[in-house]
């Protein structure tokens, strides 16, 4: 009886730290998730800062203030970044929580997989310096979370929205409007599904394996966290070496036999503090810094390499928003097919293809934010999952700067609507064989009518004959590459005018 009373009494003040961690974690994952789900542009006004404080995007954007703040945070509190800011870390905690509810005391101490984590960190550093973006995007934790939300959660969210929109419509309300749900990239969906499955499995069984073995951000912060001012400390005079702390440590970093904690892997979750019935663990300043002894081998806790996890079945059949099919009264409209572009198009603010591939972590925030169905993840290995523009479903509308507003990593720099109208991201190219006045023999001019910068003039198709049908002439010096002409061209499936990207964006 005495013992229980004592535990309850002692555990209460410690629980507050864990409760604070949980509240912060839940709020921050909700904010980031909403940011990715929201297509109205409202969330970015409120929670946009949440993605700017993400470590890797801040590094790529050379956002010195944020980097210093995060370093300071880690030097004071340890790796709480991993517990309350990183959405991928919080997501894993949620899976781990389910795992622990199913089976208590499921973890055990294991020594750090230093070779692996330093290899991944080195790989990351090399990739960033050498500009091998595919490695950066695959390893970046925040981006992995973004992809999961964009590819898997977002369609569900939008489907729910469309239900509400349908409901609103029957009541004559304009509160909700429906959006097209479409698969932007099957490959990105595959990557997201595999990432989610692997992480869910690992964290459910073993907690923070990914964070302490693969995640380069975790490794970097781990260096700093060794020297943090505050950290969980074991009072060896109280510890009875029961091992409860180690068996419930999702970071597998408590070596209870030696009363040691590997602070490079501790994510400061505060779970151990309340798990200790002896009240032997507290969060504070260590009395004396003892030199870590050589780590004992841990034979019992052998762990499956996450890399060898079996491939997960992926459903590629994603419902594509169908145009309402009607006949008789309405002609069938063929879908547009994406043209082969020699140079890909990146949105205004990206400055150049190089700037995009150097800074982008492929988090997909711009892709989900694009209200015009222009941006989608690239399938090319060199720019894997980084955004690119195409105009089959819409065009880069003059009043929109959403992608540049949300990008946290400096891949798409902020621009204003006025600046946008003078940034040449590409130039229109006319394809004579598809042009409607020449193929159907009717007047058209829809490209010229919709060019926001007046770069298209209609000229007689027969030289000198003012009465002949008119064909477009593009002034590439004025063209900004927005794709209005390509998107609104009546020629299908291939437009008679399409946009080629510019390697480096120019200012008119």
């Amino acid at each position: 009886m005495d013992k229980i009373k004592k535990t309850v009494k002692k555990s209460r003040p410690f629980n507050i730290l864990k409760a604070i961690r949980r509240v912060l974690a839940v709020s921050s994952i909700l904010m980031v998730t909403l940011l990715f789900l929201d297509f109205t542009g409202l969330a970015s006004r409120w929670f946009g800062w949440m993605v700017r404080i993400q470590f890797l995007p801040a590094v790529l954007a050379l956002n010195v203030g944020v980097i210093i703040a995060l370093v300071a945070l880690t030097l004071i509190f340890g790796r709480i970044y991993c517990s309350v800011i990183c959405p991928l870390g919080i997501m894993q905690d949620i899976f781990a929580w389910f795992g622990l509810r199913q089976k208590k005391n499921r973890y055990s101490y294991s020594p750090a997989k230093n070779i692996l984590r330093y290899t991944f960190l080195a790989l990351m550093v090399v990739a960033v310096i050498a500009g091998i973006s595919v490695i950066v995007t695959l390893l970046a934790p925040y981006s992995a979370y973004g992809r999961i939300v964009q590819s898997i959660l977002s369609p569900v969210w939008q489907w729910g929205n469309n239900l509400l929109a349908h409901w609103a419509e029957t009541r004559g309300s304009y509160m909700f409007y429906s959006v097209d749900i479409w698969l932007r990239s099957g490959l990105t969906l595959c990557v997201a599904v595999v990432t989610l499955a692997v992480l869910a499995f690992l964290s459910w069984r073993n907690g923070r394996t990914y964070c302490n073995t693969v995640c380069p951000v975790g490794t970097v912060l781990g260096f700093l966290a060794r020297f943090s001012f505050l950290k969980p400390v074991i009072d060896t005079s109280k510890c009875n070496s029961c091992g409860l702390c180690a068996r419930n440590c999702k970071a597998a970093c408590i070596d209870n036999k030696n009363h040691k904690i590997d602070y490079s892997r501790c994510v400061a979750c505060m779970d151990c503090i309340s798990n200790c019935h002896q009240g032997a663990i507290s969060y504070g300043r260590p009395q004396k810094v003892s030199r870590p002894e050589s780590e004992t081998e841990n034979a019992g806790a052998s762990r499956r390499q996450f890399l060898s996890v079996a491939a997960v079945a992926v459903t590629t059949a994603v419902a594509k928003a169908q145009e309402k099919t009607v006949d008789g009264g309405l002609a069938v409209i063929e879908d547009k097919v994406r043209p082969q572009r020699k140079t890909r198009i990146v949105p205004p603010g990206a400055q150049s293809l190089k700037n995009m591939s150097d800074h982008c972590t492929a988090c997909q925030l711009c892709v989900v934010s694009c209200p015009n169905e222009v941006l989608r993840p690239s399938g090319d290995i060199m720019t894997f999952m980084q955004p690119e523009s195409s105009y089959e479903r819409g065009y880069c509308r003059p009043e929109c700067t959403r992608c540049s507003d949300v990008c946290p990593s400096g891949a798409i720099l902020p621009i204003t609507v006025a600046e946008k109208s003078s940034i040449q991201i590409g130039h229109a190219v006319w394809i004579k064989d598809n042009c409607i006045p020449l193929t159907d023999g009717v007047p058209c001019g829809n490209c010229a009518r919709h060019c926001p910068v007046g770069a298209i003039t209609m000229i007689p198709s027969v030289p000198g004959d003012e009465n002949s049908l008119k064909i477009p002439m593009v002034d590439t010096e004025r063209c900004i590459g927005c794709g209005a002409c390509e998107n609104l061209c009546p020629a299908r499936p291939f437009s008679a005018i399409y946009v080629e990207g510019n390697q480096r964006h120019r200012i008119v």
Partner: protein, 470 residues
Amino acid sequence: MTKKNIDRRDFLKRLGLGTAVTGITLAGCKSEAEKVVSAQSSLPSSEVSAEDMTYRVNPKTGEKVSLLGYGCMRWPMMKNPEGDGEIVDQDAVNDLVDYAIAHGVNYFDTAPPYVRGLSEEATGIALSRHPRDSYFLATKMSNHHLARTGLKGRELFDASVAMYRNSFEKLRTDYFDYYLLHNIGGETGLPFLMQRFFDSGLLDFLLEEREAGRIRNLGFSYHGDVKVFDYMLSLHDEVHWDFVQIQLNYVDYRHASGMNFNAEYLYDELAKRGIPAVIMEPLLGGRLASLSDHLNSRLKQREPENSIASWAFRFAGSFPGVLTVLSGMTYIEHLQDNLRTYAPLKPLNDSELALLEDTAVEMISYPSVPCTACEYCMPCPYGINIPAIFSHYNKCVNEGNIPSSSQSEGYREARRAFLVGYDRSVPKLRQASHCIGCNQCAPHCPQSIRIPDELHRIDEYVEKLKQETL
């Protein structure tokens, strides 16, 4: 003010003139028609009885035609259970026809191209379940569709006669009570008329058919170029038109849009010659079923229990030279409402007529597009849903959701209602931004709307709303 009074007197005089000259009288229950309507039958929920229906007499045959005629251009549709697209909802059509006949409606007007070419068959199926002498059947020679493809002379004649014979088959009958030369006055006007009926010798054929009794009444339906109308009437002494179908409603009476001619003139010309008029578009394709809040409230204050549409029907029915007023009723509620209006008709008095004239004057100051959703322009080869775009635009005009500037009161709400509503009523790919201006639609429009110009105007407005540069 004085001018308006004179106009009104003038107008009433014309009504009187019509009665005197045509000799068409209110038949059946004339005394009942003029009787004060009982409180019971004016209630929206009340059932009307067939005996209350106002009938008009055809001066040639003496037959009693119900003032409410059924226009078969807007039958209810449903998803095709076997395959793509839509088909006519035959069960619903049968119910509508049964209800109409049970409540005294006896005039049914169809045409080969109606409802994507499905109307004649659907109408025929529904009507063949009733005795042939319990209704009057009207259909049309729609060979403008054939002539448009370039057919001429003998070829056009043969194709037209085939169309004529096909109508018998579809409508399951061996005679037509009323047969019309369809949509006279469109395209190039007189030359097109000549091509269709004179050069091909088709009119002579139809006159012979009338002699033979397979056509009981021969007439024409007219839109567009007034020269064609005048020319057709100049043939009256020779041909003896039994009836003529014109577009008449309180807007077109004096404020016809586009190339259309004021119905006042058309009606008077018919009345002078004693030719009964069949009225189409009494409701302007539904546009007169709901006006702006201001106009609605004025009408409602006069007749709080009657629909806005009832005013338009009373207007058309108040002309004594009108044989029947066609309404394309898709829903039973429309049918019930119109039955209440015409069973019996309460003719408009002079102050009510003045109110409608005033309503029309205000309406034409709005930027609405005078589209009646007849779909003659459809399908657009580039997939634009023309009537849906105009209908959305007109709805926004009526609801006051066309802000003229970003400083206007309620701009944000109106902008949202316009843009969100636009995407709801028209899929993006079928919106005005995709109109290339090829102008293939415009010649088919009976309201002579310059469709591409109007679409481009609406598209420019949408752009201004989207870019917030209004």
